[in-house]
Amino acid sequence: MKGTMISLAEVRRKRRNTLVISVMLIGILAAFLISMNTGVIRMSPLDVVKTLLGFGTAQQHLVLFDFRLPRIIISILIGMGLAVSGAVLQALTRNALADPGIIGINSGAGMVILLYVAFYSSPTAAPAYLLPILAWLGGGVAALLVFIISYRKHKGLSSNRLVLNGVAISSGFSAVTILVSLRINPEQYQFVSTWLAGSIWSKDWSYVTALLPFIVVLLPFVYFKSQTINVLNLGAPLATGLGAAVAKQQIWLLAAAVGLASSCVAVSGSIGFVGLIAPHLARRLVGQRYQILLPATALAGGLLVLVADTLGRWILQPSEIPTGIVVAVIGAPYFLYLMFRTKG
């Protein structure tokens, strides 16, 4: 009797999870079509589908495949990367308020990219594949700094300290970024300011191919580790008791989270709050198990950034609002609401 009840609950939960995932997929598809349709050159949804299938005019083909499609794909990839990175960081630090932006990864990665832009060349001349790697370096240094400062010998990582130190390190890196950005010429400055505001500037297929390997390798890696993340999420003492090699796993997962976030920042500029909101939304919908939470988080993140990017292009046509600003305007109030709800 008891067994059947459990399995009933299990079945119900599975059905619910499938529903959530499919609704999100449909959402992304819908946002995809709308986003394809958004821009100076109008196209009906039917034309979009036609062109996608290869029956459009040459102009439609150019607009869709060379301008809009790469951007949309980048938006989805960035959303996924940042969201999963946030979910992993939240489990590692056991802090519901952790986010790649708050931990300092965004500003670290941003600083390195800017140093590169300032001293070597214009961003467009830079080989696209180099940017994510550079960003990983900067993000890694920032994250490492924050973790080392927050680590206490006998108590381990204090998650509150981690957030505070992250805030401080972030503003330190931003200060250096400003120092550098004031010395560059006005043309570069224009790029830098939109980049800092989180604009998906690279609408080129080469950036898709630069970002894709990171996402394709790191997302499955994190997904295969989801059982480990479940265990780590219980806290280091309990995880050790359950037989996990805590320190080793933490370092691997941290490297993956930093890699995901930094490669996204390299292509998109600093977009905050995605890594915070998407996991929270997903957790509310599908619960704590990372096997299902991670895919749901990835989809929620992709949907969020795609919608934000589309909104940013749509609101003030023909000029654009950087995606980062749109996300912040949605994300910051949600974050305050979360803080307001959870008890200290």
């Binding site: 200060a175 400055y189 505001a197 600003i325 803080m339 200290g344």
Partner: protein, 358 residues
């Protein structure tokens, strides 16, 4: 806040050794304070002369004296000193004192060691209001700009206070900082959006990071009375702030009506932070750094902490401005960045001190 004091009390009860330390820490050093304030004023005058004489155009020290006391409008040097450098240095002093005293009052009232008008989002509130001004009413007179700046600071103060009041058990220092950072992120994002749309990015960006280069006499004339009145009010209020800094229960026990005092404190903070932001931009960390140093030097009595903070804050900003002009001439580095470079390590030190789990 309530949670804080509870934590505080339980620490006192459970650890008598700590209690001894806590009592020992309640010291005040009036003589040291007077010496520091006098020494600080002398240093400030020296810094003023140095800062005025240094710049793209090299000017001798004696010339500075002449320009101030025997102003001759025919001389180019006198013109530069009188029109550009003097207001700039005086502006730096006012800005420094205002941010530092605002920070001191906030730290005393909230008992939050990380309180600072920048970190808690007041500065970006004022900044957002200014971005609106630049975008929708360009060429607005400076007194109006300052009014809007006050308004912006007041709105974000209300948000932080309401958040603090509505969370059960009060906001811990960490949550308060997080709320402030998030609020700043939101307001900065909105300001950036406005800046990009109205193409006022470049002027706004420099101002945002702390631009004191543009300070002129007319701004000083508007700003000075506000800062002056607020500083005097802060001194009048200092006794009550000292009591508040001992905890809500203690100050009530000592017969303080905490409500009106807190309201007055908040108004002073808004006046100080709002007017400082309106000329210098959203500079963080001054209000964090200076009061801590002052407290270390002169003890826990706000009657001494406030004037010491005012003097040291002025000195810090004048020196930071001097450094900002020296680093990479003839370009200027925003002082906000210079101060962040000192402030960040200090913040890290404060946040990571042992014994205090925030």
């Amino acid at each position: 806040m309530a949670e804080n004091s509870r934590l505080h009390n339980s620490q006192l009860e459970s650890e008598p050794a700590l209690a001894g330390q806590e009592v020992e820490r309640l010291y005040s050093r009036p003589i040291t304070a007077i010496l520091i304030i006098l020494g600080g004023l002398v240093a400030l005058i020296l810094a003023l002369v140095l800062s005025v004489s240094f710049g793209a155009m090299d000017i001798k020290f004696l010339m500075v004296w002449d320009a101030i006391f025997h102003f001759n409008p025919d001389l180019k040097e006198h013109q530069v000193i009188h029109e550009l450098r003097l207001p700039r240095v005086l502006g730096c002093m006012l800005v420094g004192s205002a941010f530092a005293v605002a920070g001191a009052i906030m730290q005393g009232m909230t008992r939050n060691p990380l309180a600072d008008s920048g970190l808690l989002g007041l500065n970006s509130g004022a900044g957002f209001a200014l971005a609106l001004c630049f975008a929708f009413a360009p060429g607005l007179s400076y007194s109006y700009i300052m009014m809007f700046s006050f308004l912006g600071a007041a709105v974000s103060t209300i948000v932080v206070v309401v958040l603090g009041a509505s969370v059960r058990g009060g906001l811990t220092p960490m949550r308060m900082v997080l709320a402030g950072v998030t609020l700043s992120a939101l307001l900065t994002a909105l300001s950036e959006g406005i800046a990009l749309y109205f193409r006022i990015g470049q002027e706004l960006a420099f101002w945002y990071a702390g631009g004191v280069a543009g300070i002129r006499w007319e701004q000083l004339k508007v700003m000075f009375p506000w800062v002056g009145v607020a500083l005097i009010a802060a001194m009048v209020l200092s006794r009550s702030i000292t009591m508040l800094s001992l905890g809500e229960e203690v100050s009530k026990g000592l017969g303080l009506r905490t409500g009106p005092v807190k309201l007055a404190g908040v108004i002073i903070v808004i006046m100080l932070a709002g007017s400082a932001v309106s000329v210098a931009g959203a500079v963080s960390f001054i209000g964090l750094l200076v009061p801590h140093v002052a407290r270390k030097l002169v003890g826990v009595d706000y009657k001494w902490i406030i004037p010491t903070s005012a003097v040291l804050g002025a000195l810090l900003v004048v020196l930071a401005d001097l450094a900002a002009r020296t680093v990479h001439p003839p370009y200027e580095t925003p002082i906000g960045t210079m101060i962040a470079l000192i402030g960040v390590p200090f913040f890290l030190y404060l946040a990571n001190k042992e014994r205090r789990e925030l």
